[in-house]
Symmetry: C2
Subunit: 453 residues, 2 copies
C-alpha cells in the first residue's frame, strides 16, 4: 500500500525535495542566515500538509528548530525522528559539474548540496509520514525535531532538549543521516565516532616581513605550524597527544574479526579514490581505521601569500583547522583539553599559539539487541529482501550521546546514503532509488516497531 | 647647488612621486596589466620632462621596459641606472592603516605600496638627473633601464639585455633597491642573496572527502605536506635537501668578525618584531643568518576549508609556495633542481606531488675596491657626513648576476631604504628624508665617479 502510494506520488515527492534543495541553507555562513530560516519555514509548511497535529518553528540563539508531532493514542509507542535541514558550505564551487543549489537528476542520482546530507534523508521521513497518514495506517505516535545547526556543531540543540524534555518524550529516536554499504548490501550503523574540531593560530613576527631580509633569522609561522602538525603523528600513524588513547575501548579479536567481515575491496577503494596507497595507523585495517580507531586530520590550512605568482613574504600568522574523530569511551571535552594543552606545549618560544575549540560531539554505540534495532533490521529485510549488516561508521552524529544523556533514549541510525555520495564534497548526490526505498523502509519500521512494543 | 635645487623643488618632486604611487602596478596580478603599463608611460613622460635625449617604451612578452639616455660626450664614462616600477601585491589589505595606493605622509614617512620598493628609489634617479640637467652640471653619460617585472622574476629582462647589448653599453650599473642600516649609519650593499622560488602541489584522493568517513585511512594532503615541509629543516635549523650546502662559500673568521661589527641590538630587533626569541641555523648570528647563509622559507600555504566555521573535509589537494635564499656560489638553477628532486623523493606513495619553479636569481657579491664602489662611498660621505659601512644583504636582486654575465658590468647597490620600511608588507613606507638625501647622494655619485674615471 505504502509502496503504491510512493509510486503514484514519486514525481511530486521529488519536486518538493528539489524545492527544498534550492534553498542554500548553509549554516556555517552568516550570509545565508535568511536562507537557513527559509528552509525551516518550508518544512513547517510541508509537515502541515502531511497531516501533523501541530508544528512549531522554535527559536534558538542560532538557527531555528522545527518541531512537529502526531499523537494518535497515548498508549501507543512514540518515535522521535531527528534530522537537520542545514547543509555544508558548497565550496570549492569550481569542482561542481552543476550548481550546488540547482538540483538535477543524472544517472538516477540527485545532484545538489544536501541531497543526501541531510535534506534528502529528512524529506523521506516527511513523505513516509504523509503516506501513512493519507492511507490511515500510521501505527504509532511520531514526533519530529529537525534542526538547522548540525553542520556547525548543534550548539543550541542541547539547551532545546534540556528545556523541552516533556515535549520530546518518546520511546526511541530514529535518525536517517548515515549510509548503507551499497544497494546490494543494506546496513545499519551501530557505532559512531565522536568529534573534537579545533582552530589554531600561530603568530611569528608582529607583521608580514620580507623573507629576503628576515628569512633564516626569524621564526616563520608556516614552517613552525607545519612542524607542529607533523609532530602530531608518529612514524606508525599514532597520534602523539599525551593521553589521547587512554580511554579508547580496545575491541576483542572476535569483534575485530566481525568488523572485517563486511564486504570490502581495497583495490576498488583505492581505484575509486584515485590513490596508489592507503595510509593510516599501523596494525589496523582500513575498516578498523575508519570505524573503531580515533584519528586526527587537518581540515584546512592557510597563511602567507596564496595568490597568483610569487611574493617573498615571511608572514606574521598561519592558521589550521584540525579535527579529531573519537571512539568509545573517549570524551570530546577531555580530548579538546588534551589537544589544547599539547599544542600549546610544543610551540617553540619564537612564536605565540592560540587554540580555539570550534565544536565537538561524543562517540556513541547503539545496542543491536534492542527492539528498535531489531525493528529497523526487519524493515530493511522486508523492503530490500536482505538482512542488513550492523556497521561501525566514521562520521559523527554528536546528538546521539546528547539524546542518551538528556532524554535517556537510544537512537536507531537508519540511514540510506552511500559512502560514495560525496557528502561535504563537490557534486554531492543521492540515489533516487535510495530516496524512494528509504521512504518505504521508514514506514515498515513504524509497523515492525509498533508490533513489538 | 643640487641641494638647493632639491630644496626649491621638493614639493613638486613629492607630488610627482605620489602620482606614480597612485598607479597600482602590481605585476603579479594579471588584472593590473593596464596599470603596470600606465606606470611605464608615466616614467616615459617624466624622463622627457627631465631632459633625456631619447626615451623608449620597449615591449617585451610581459610588461614593458622603459629605456632612456642622455649622451653628453663619447669620451665620458657612462652610468646605466637600473630600477623597477612594478610593485608587490598589497594584500593583506585589512592590515594597512591607509589604502596602499593612496600615498600619505605621516611622521616624515611616505606610506604607500612601492614607496620604497622601488618607485620611490627609482624616482630619486629621475629627479637627480633632472637637477643636474637643469643646473647644467651632469658630468657623465647616463642611461636608464626601468623594468616592470622585478617582483615576478624579471622573466623578460634577460632577453632584452641580450638583444640590446650595444644600446646598454656602459661602464657601471647603479641600482637603488636596497637599504642602509639607519639614517645614522649609511651603508652600501656589497653582497646579495640569490633566490629559488617554488610552488608545490600535493594531491591525495581525487576529490574532497568527508573526514569522518575516510579520515585515518586515506592520506590527508595537508598532513602530508606539513610533514614534508617540517622535514626540510633538521633540529639545528639546517636545510636537509641533499647537496644544498655543497657550493656555499664559507667565510673566513675575519670576514665573519667584520660582518658582526655592524651595529646591531638583538633586544631591539626582537622588540621591534614583537617576538620572544629569534630562530635560525645553529652556529650563526642573526646578521650571518640573514646575510651569508642560505635559507628556506614557506611564503604561503593553503588547502581544505579555510572559511568561517567548521567543515569536516579531508581535502584532495594542498599547496605551498616555498622559497630559498642563496649565497655565493650556489646556483639558483641547481638548487631549483635539487629541491624538485628532493621534494618529489620524500613524498609517500599515498600522494602525488607536483613541483613548479616560479622564479629565481643568482647570488652576487660587489667588489668593494672598484672605482664605482669607492665613488658611492665618497658620495655618501659627502652628503651624510659619514663613511658608509659595506653590508651583506638578505634580499635578492637577481639582475646583478645577469648584468655581470651578459654585459660584463659590475653593479653598485646604492640603496636608501631602511629594513623597517615594511617592503612586501602592509604599510610599506619610505622616509621623505631618505628620498631627498638619496637624490643628493646620486648626484654626488655622478661627480665622484666621473672624477676618477
Amino acid at each position: 500500500m505504502v509502496k503504491e502510494y510512493i509510486e503514484k506520488n514519486q514525481q511530486r515527492f521529488l519536486d518538493e525535495l528539489f524545492e527544498l534543495l534550492r534553498i542554500p541553507s548553509v549554516s556555517a555562513d552568516s550570509r545565508h542566515k535568511g536562507d537557513v530560516r527559509k528552509a525551516a519555514e518550508f518544512l513547517v509548511a510541508k509537515f502541515n500538509d502531511a497531516g501533523v497535529d501541530k508544528v512549531e518553528l522554535c527559536e534558538t540563539k542560532g538557527h531555528p528548530i522545527v518541531f512537529a508531532e502526531k499523537i494518535i493514542g497515548p498508549s501507543l509507542p512514540t518515535v522521535l525522528v531527528y534530522g537537520h535541514y542545514d547543509v555544508q558550505p558548497p565550496d570549492p564551487l569550481d569542482l561542481w559539474h552543476s550548481p550546488p543549489f540547482e538540483p538535477v537528476i543524472k544517472d538516477g542520482k540527485i545532484y545538489a548540496r544536501g541531497s543526501c546530507d541531510d535534506k534528502g534523508q529528512v524529506y523521506m521521513h516527511v513523505k513516509a509520514f504523509e503516506a501513512m497518514i493519507k492511507l490511515n495506517t500510521l501505527p504509532c505516535n511520531v514526533k519530529f525535531m529537525v534542526e538547522g545547526e548540525e553542520e556547525v556543531g548543534s550548539d543550541n540543540l542541547g539547551t532545546f532538549v534540556r528545556e523541552n524534555k516533556a515535549k520530546l518524550k518518546a520511546d526511541i529516536i530514529l535518525v536517517s543521516d548515515t549510509a548503507i554499504i551499497s544497494l546490494d548490501h543494506p546496513s545499519i550503523t551501530a557505532g559512531l565516532r565522536g568529534l573534537s574540531y579545533m582552530e589554531v593560530e600561530v603568530t611569528g613576527p608582529n607583521r608580514d616581513l620580507h623573507s629576503g631580509v628576515y628569512g633564516g633569522a626569524v621564526a616563520n609561522p608556516i614552517n613552525v605550524l607545519s612542524k607542529m602538525i607533523a609532530s602530531l603523528h608518529d612514524e606508525n600513524g599514532h597520534v602523539t597527544i599525551s593521553g589521547f588513547y587512554d580511554k579508547v575501548v580496545e575491541l576483542s579479536d572476535a569483534d575485530r574479526t566481525a568488523i572485517n567481515k563486511a564486504p570490502f575491496s581495497l583495490e576498488n577503494y583505492k581505484n575509486e579514490l584515485g590513490i596508489d596507497d592507503v595510509q593510516g595507523e599501523k596494525g589496523f585495517t582500513t575498516l578498523e581505521r575508519t570505524g573503531i580507531r580515533p584519528t586526527l586530520d587537518v581540515n584546512g590550512i592557510w597563511g602567507g601569500y596564496t595568490g597568483e605568482g610569487a611574493k617573498t613574504v615571511l608572514p606574521s600568522k598561519a592558521y589550521a583547522k584540525i579535527s579529531m574523530r573519537l571512539v568509545p569511551n573517549q570524551s570530546n571535552k577531555e580530548i579538546t583539553e588534551l589537544f589544547t594543552k599539547h599544542f600549546t606545549a610544543i610551540a617553540p618560544k619564537s612564536v605565540k599559539v592560540k587554540v580555539t575549540a570550534l565544536h565537538g560531539g561524543q562517540p556513541a554505540v547503539t545496542p543491536t539487541d534492542s527492539a528498535a534495532f531489531k525493528a529497523a533490521s526487519a524493515a530493511f529485510e522486508e523492503v530490500w529482501g536482505k538482512k542488513p549488516i550492523p556497521t561501525r561508521d566514521g562520521g559523527s552524529i554528536p546528538i546521539v550521546a546528547l539524546f542518551k544523556d538528556e532524554l535517556g533514549l537510544d537512537t536507531v541510525l537508519m540511514g540510506f546514503g552511500l559512502d560514495s555520495d560525496a557528502i561535504h564534497s563537490p557534486n554531492e548526490h543521492y540515489g533516487v532509488k535510495n530516496f524512494l526505498l528509504g521512504i518505504e523502509t521508514i514506514a515498515a519500521f513504524y509497523n515492525h516497531y509498533s508490533k513489538n512494543n
